[in-house]
Symmetry: C2
DNA sequence: TCAAAAGTGTTGGACCTACACCCATGT
DNA sequence: ACATGGGTGTAGGTCCAACACTTTTGA
């Protein structure tokens, strides 16, 4: 068998960069609300010219995935040195209209204060978009060997520039205890299959928040516990009780001697992440 | 920018098929011990001719990853209709000596009673190998912003045919709570970087056993609770207390009316997986 | 009879949930 | 003064680890 026989696709990396940002607020006493956001770029070239998309790039000949991701972020968005993890590889033969392109997706988390985005190479514009998820329809069927759950989810992406509507159908089929998930894009203002990748990344992030310290990547070096709680609340999409939350994170953080003042209420102590925290071992 | 400029690598899928198998035993009263095994094939062609490797194949032009995985298993090993999940994509430019090949790996779990393996296309031989892991060295350093843990792990793969020695160095660096893992092959009797992929798959499986029902894919339709416990014990690599284990899995299983008899001791009730089990919701 | 495994009950402690309460601040 | 958030204590329940104990079988 000669290697020349084999089919060769193009390979890209796509990055999903999340952050949580403060919303400005009127009342001097109140804390700012938080918004969960994703970074999108407006494509300068074909295909999907002028469409918003996840920042991505072709992988070069001698380049590792991580190198491609970092180059992409640097060139297109001006971001560097951030937390990244590989998510999933997308290989559907039809996912790119030009030719077959396989994409390996990476999720990145940033503290919004740490970075300054800037539209770069092949990018017409760059913007943070608020993420709003609405479940439109939900259908659950019990079956002999499991159950079936079809959700129609609307992903609304909002910025000053544009509002992007996306509707995806997420089918979770539990067969003998194994969750098989397939996603289908019903309607999307994003380029390619990026709505699918985005919803996958959101699910993964929400999941990992519960049992890892991944959320700390969205925080500045020093933060208040209420701030941290707000980030958890927005990712888990439910309110948490203050006293209980503080006990839960108590050994993931280290007290500093500093306080946040001038807030119209009692100053709050600043904390740092405890780098030596380890999940429970037995 | 013309698409022809872009570099195109070859793309393969590699599969890591695990099972747990009974070892025959002398004492009529005693239960058989269990062995954790992985399926390997002996390569019929270059490169790495005559070396044992994970079953894999090039992805064809109009083929999805899952289709390639299923075709590969069918053609090379005679396995079909099993539980599969995508693990990770490996893109190191040097991982294949011929040219750049990107590999997306899938993990599969089977009940050994369900299948009959057979060496197929481009496969000289096929065999289940016992997996034995030994930690040779371990070094932990506390650092300012986290800690660093280097482990040297020996992966011994044993079958009637051969014993394969592999030594990998797994470095876990915890920086600000993020686990960065990089693996390096020190010595390997397996083809390509398959020792690296294997250790990754083992870690993932051990992890998922704790918080999912993934282990049930290694079980036959009907099983005893002690049997199930043995599978958990071998994957978690620690003994479990019977009473507690039974309480833990009690709502993941359904009692049947059947018993396993003729065992030299009290007959044990057979259970089925409860397909409607759901992890805790609030 | 008895070794081996099947199967169940109990107890103390850790942790989680919900709620209540007091404290400190800037305007 | 007071609205707002900072910060802590407690009671009740649930879950889990560890251990002890009884039951049933085949040779």
């Amino acid at each position: 068998m000669k290697k020349e026989e084999y089919f060769k696709p193009s390979v890209t990396v796509d990055t999903i960069i999340f952050t949580v940002r403060d919303l400005n607020v009127d009342n001097y006493r109140k804390l700012p609300e938080k918004k969960f956001q994703v970074l999108l770029v407006k494509r300068a070239g074909e295909p999907y010219k002028d469409k918003w998309s996840l920042p991505g790039t072709f992988v070069e000949k001698e380049e590792r995935f991580e190198e491609a991701v970092n180059r992409c972020l640097q060139e297109k968005t001006n971001i560097k040195d951030i937390y990244l993890e590989q998510l999933y590889s997308w290989g559907d033969p039809q996912r790119d209209p030009r030719e077959r392109v396989i994409s390996t997706s990476y999720m990145g988390l940033v503290d919004i204060g740490d970075i300054q985005i800037k539209a770069g190479k092949n990018v017409e514009d760059i913007e943070w978009f608020n993420i709003k998820l609405n479940t439109i329809k939900e259908k659950t069927k019990e079956k002999k060997n499991g159950y079936y759950k079809a959700e129609e989810i609307e992903i609304l992406l909002e910025s000053k520039q544009a509002t992007l509507k996306n509707r995806v159908k997420v089918v979770k089929e539990i067969v003998n205890g194994n969750t098989i998930i397939y996603t289908q894009i019903l309607q999307s203002d994003l380029a390619f299959d990026h709505a699918k990748i985005l919803i996958y990344a959101i699910e993964r992030l929400k999941n990992k928040v519960e049992y890892t310290t991944i959320a700390f990547n969205l925080m500045p070096e020093k933060f208040t516990l209420t701030n941290l709680q707000q980030v958890y609340e927005i990712l888990l999409d439910k309110p948490l009780l203050k006293a209980n939350f503080r006990r839960k994170v108590s050994d993931m953080v280290i007290e500093t001697e500093e306080y946040e003042e001038n807030a119209g209420h009692r100053p709050s102590k600043l904390y740092k992440f405890n780098p030596n925290w380890q999940p429970h071992v037995f």
